[in-house]
Structures are given as C-alpha cells and as structure tokens.
Subunit: 369 residues, 2 copies
C-alpha cells in the first residue's frame, strides 16, 4: 500500500529554508550566532503538549497520528526562537514494527510483549517495511516539513542498534542490562546477528525519513555508555558507523548532516568522530574544550548544558549558558543543546531564558567566522 | 556513654596480618599476585546473607547489630579466597545519625523523613558523635577485626559528601537530582555549608573506623558522575580532598591506604589522583591502560570488570578477567574488583570463577615486582 503523502516529495522541496544556521553549524560553516535546540523540546514540560497528548489518547496514538505529531513538534517553535525542529516520535517504533508488541505500562515506561531472547527469536524477526509498517512516521515527517514551510530545518532520528537491542532483549527498561549483556558475553554471534538486522532497519528508516523531508539525522545511543570501551566499539559504535555509511547524505541539493550521540560517551568522542558522521552530541560530563581537542576539528559538537541547570534561576541559567559557549570557544561547529532531554518538570520560561541567552551571548564567538 | 569495645584497641592490634597483598597493592609495593575483592561482596547474591538478613529484621537492624554485621562481612570470605573484607554497613549512617530519620520503603530504596532543603535545615543539622550516635558502626568494625584474626585486611568506608548531600536534600533516591542541583546552582553558599558539615563528619567517621580497626578506607562517590567537570571539582572532589587531608594515615605501625571511587569519573582520574589518596576505584567504562596513563603512576587502581560479566558463563568470565589483568599490565598497583557492586541476581559460583581466575592468571604480571 503506497502512502500518497510519503511519496509526494515535491510539495515541500520547493520551499527555501529561511534559517539554515543549524545545518551550517553542523557542517562547520560560518554562522553569525550559535544555533540552539533542545532534546525532547516537544514534551511534557509544555502545557500545550500535555493538552494535545490528552486529546490523542495514548502516547503511541500521538506518535501514530501525523497531524498531532506535527502539532507537538511545532509547539516549542511557537514559544521559543529555536533553530531546529525534531520529529516527534518514539525511539521504539522499529522494534514495534518488527512485531514485538510495544506497550506502555503506567509508571514503568515502555515494554514489549515478545522480547527477543533465543536464536529462534532473533531469526524470526521481520524486517519492517518503511511504507506500510512505518508509513505513519514518514507521514509525520512530510506533514511537519510542510507545516514548517522552511522556517527551520527538521531533524529525523532513530535509536542506535545497541540501544534498541537492549530494549528488545530486556522487554522493558532495565538498570542492569542483565539479559542483553548475558547475550553479548555468551552469544556474541547471536548479538551481532540481531544488531545487524536492527542496523539495516535503522538505515532504511533514517533514509526514508530523509526522503520524506528530514534535513538532518540523529542517532540516539542512550545506552552505549553502559559498555566497556572494547564492547562499545564492537557492539555499538561499529553499527552506528555502518548506518552512517548507508545514509543518504544529500537531499534538496544540500548535505544532510548526521549526528551521533552516545550518553556517557565522553571518553570515546575521538573514536566516534572517525565514523564519518558530521557532528557528535556531548553530554554535560565532558568539557566542550576537551571534547573539541579530542575530535581535532573533524566534526561539529552539539551540547552540552546540564539539563538540571533549567531548575536554576534565569540569571544563573544565563551564566551557565555563557560558560558552555566559552568552553567551545570561537568559530563555527557548535550547536547549543542540553546534554540530555529536558526534564518534564522544568518551567518553560527557564527554557526561554536559555534560548535567548544562547542567541544573545554567542555572536562574539562568530565575529571571525 | 563510652563503648567498651570501641576503646579496647589492644584486642586485635597484636594479631599479625597473614595476607597483606591488598594493602601492598594499594601502596604499589611488590606482590606475587593481584589481590581481589568485590564491591558489595557481602550481599543479597549469597543465600547465607539472605538468611542472616531475615533473622535481623530490617536492613538497618542488620547494620546496627555488630554481631550480625560481622557475620555477613565474613560470609563471602568463607566462600571465596578474597584478599580483603569490607565493613558491612549502609552509606547513609551519617545522615541518619544527624537526625534526618532514615527509613527504607519497600521497593523504593532509602528515604529520609526530614530532608534538608532550607538554610534553617542546613544550620540545624547536628554533628553526630562517633561514639554515642555511631558507636554501633565502630563496634562492628572492632568485632569484625577480631573475628578476622589477621586473615585479610578490613576496609572501612563512607559515602562522599556530595553523594550523602544528594540523599539528604532529595530525601530519597532520585534520577534527576532536581533539588540538589537547584541548591547547587542557586544557593552554592548553602550547598558548600552543607558539604563542609558532611565532610567534617565523614572525616571523623572514617578516623573512628580506623581507630576501631579498619586498615584501609574507601570513599564511595556514587553520584559525582552526574556533575559537569567544573561542578565535580567544586562540589565533590574538593570535599573528598579535604577528607583525605584529615585522615589518620598510619595505624598499628602500617600505612592506612585511602581509595576514592567516583562512579562515571573516568574522565577525571588525573584530578582525583592529585588529592593525595593512595588509589582510585575505576568503573568498567574506562580502560585500565588509559587510566594508568592518565594517573601517571601517582596512585594504584582498583577495578574494573563490568559487574554484568558475572551473568556470563565461567569460561567467558575467565576470559574477561584475563582482559582486565592485561589492560592494567605488568607491575604492582592493581587491586582487582568489579567496576561497581555485584548484582543481587548473580550466581555465587560465577563470583568464585572470577576470584579464582584473578589469582591464577595474575602471577605472570608480577614476575618482576
């Protein structure tokens, strides 16, 4: 079944991008100020989000309805002069489309009815079709892209293969990663087979998002940081590199930048920079000056204000924004962001203070760009 | 009220230490094999622990009864040829003795009846008396020391000031550290006042443990890794340095080594090594070869097998032990440990395989010690 919106690429590609600061910074091209967006900028801290979410029914109903997903994606842009929009969706859409039966249990986060444990489980996983099984995501992308009308670029995203695999194997959120690591240690062959399948799907998924209108792609490796350095390279980084290799890197006559983000990956930024990606997300436990030295100008950096800073007063927020800008220093190649998703109990006015402070304070750093 | 056991230091100091490999390795003195112990080695993964725990009543009842605390401290040594014992206790004994009202709610971990939030709260915190308020800990230390009879050294420990402060401020376990970080950002003066008080108590607490018989001291900075590098130095490391400065460093005619451990602190090991401590705990996300380079031979290293490795087969465990030993390489200055506490659902025979593998495989690395 073809989805008309998904294939109707012409509708948006004619619209010129009015603010390309975000894309330019990711490619380390000159900019006049440091662009800013926030991970989970469309989310529970916004009363308008909570309203739409209530209207939608369940969380997955919200993800599955392109109009409502578009609505919540745009909401933070109406409040704050953000330099990028990010597709509103869940990172577990792929395992769900593989038939694992995603559901959300009250207060316990996502769960799968059929976790992947045995050889048989891994072998029988189906490869989702991007148009039929995940067409709702592509519809959301093209709907948002049209609605944005060139205002700012739209970021598409996916979870990393390792991160998705941990949820698929555990069947729920986990603290210890007991099942996933047992498979990794005792059945590395099986783990690689699973990760290979997931990496193929993620590549197709991000490419379909790019074909539907996403102007940058980000891979969220939420759980790569729970691995040893060697296991990280073998079971997480290797598959992100494979994804980077397989991605469409140009669309609408522009480069489509790829951002990799491993939470807790500050020690491995040099290795991550060698994957061929354009930029790295950095959490707040690494100083951007150190990170910049470590990657040696190979990639742009995105981050890295401690999300808890937004619990502080606007005055203090402005000072911390100044500290982060100074830690990156002069020149392009910095996209301001939080070091992780914005917390649900943050006052939206504090987010406003942060965005404003980035725009105000960053111009001197780009005087010679 | 004087506690007779606490002051009766002569009972154990005459006993000679039969196995001092652990103390020697912490001081980077020659050893014939790499010593090994496990964080939380006295714990729920052992059926005999669960039995004693059931007998004791609540978890804090177990901590407060010197005989039972001694019993569970010794249990892992009866099963495995470990090279050190660690006092069985809770990290929250100090805030409890400060009058915050520690209790454990089913499935939710530790909580405080009276969390510390305001200036008034911080000001009114009492400094616990080590003999009256925390005499049960000192009794446990001297009881264990007598029971050990010089078999292996006994480690005393405390939580770090930052880690204790987060529990005191939040009043419970937390994911976001919203209250603690809000205080840190908006009331750094108050946070420093609180941390100063806690650091004083921790120093007295560890010194009292050393006077009661502890032969090494370890500071657990479980939550230092949630800070930015700058905040870590200002709000966590500074106070651990103050503690190191204030500790008794010799007892029974031997050096008392001090170990600092910040979970997630792999990027800051060089700074930590400058505190004057003897050794650093390293979690599994840092390669010991890199860690060794970073600290430049200033301190010994303790770690760092991924605790989840113990979910794997004994064969695989032996291989991973070999990898960790090789990553540290030749020479003294390595104490083998897990990178964090042993998980409660680990098979004790897997722990046995680890301990045995460390002893068997480490001798070649000490041929020229």
């Amino acid at each position: 079944m073809l989805n008309p919106t998904y294939n109707d690429l012409e509708t948006y590609s004619v619209t010129e991008l009015k603010n390309d600061t975000f894309l330019r910074a990711l490619l380390r091209q000159p900019v006049t100020y440091t662009p800013v967006w926030m991970m989970r900028q469309a989310g529970r801290y916004l009363p308008e989000y909570r309203e739409t979410r209530a209207k939608a029914g369940s969380f997955m109903d919200l993800c599955r309805c392109p109009e409502l997903a578009c609505e919540v994606t745009i909401q933070p842009l109406e409040r704050f002069p953000l330099d990028a929009a990010i597709l509103f969706s869940d990172i577990l859409t792929i395992p769900d489309a593989m038939g694992l039966g995603l559901y959300f249990s009250e207060g316990e986060g996502p769960r799968f009815e059929r976790p992947v444990r045995s050889t048989q489980d891994v072998r029988s996983i189906g490869m989702p079709d991007m148009q039929t099984d995940l067409g709702y995501v592509m519809d959301a992308v093209s709907t948002i892209r049209q609605e944005l009308d060139g205002r700012v670029p739209l970021i598409g995203f996916s979870g990393s293969p390792w991160t998705l695999a941990t949820y698929m194997i555990e069947g729920s959120s986990t603290k210890n990663f007991a099942q996933s690591k047992a498979m990794m240690f005792d059945r590395p062959d099986l783990m690689h087979e699973l990760l290979g399948k997931v990496a193929n799907s993620v590549t197709q998924y991000l490419n379909a998002q790019i074909e539907s209108g996403a102007q940058a792609a980000m891979v969220f490796d939420t759980w790569g940081g729970v691995l040893t350095p060697g296991d990280y390279r073998e079971f997480s980084l290797r598959y992100m590199e494979r994804i980077v290799d397989g991605l469409i890197r140009e669309a609408d006559g522009r480069r489509v930048p790829v951002v990799l983000f491993t939470k807790g990956g500050g020690q491995w930024l040099d290795r991550m920079a060698e994957t061929g990606c354009d930029a790295l997300g950095v959490d707040w436990t690494t100083d951007l000056a150190d990170a910049r030295r470590l990657v040696g100008g190979q990639v742009a950096l995105q981050g890295n204000l401690d999300p808890c800073t937004l619990y502080a007063s606007p005055e203090r927020i402005r000072r911390e924004v100044g500290r982060v800008l100074a830690s990156y220093g002069a020149g392009s190649g910095h996209v301001f962001n939080l070091g992780h998703g914005i917390h649900p109990d943050v006052n939206p006015e504090h987010a406003a203070a942060m965005v404003e402070a980035v725009h105000e304070q960053s111009r001197p750093y780009h005087a010679s760009d």
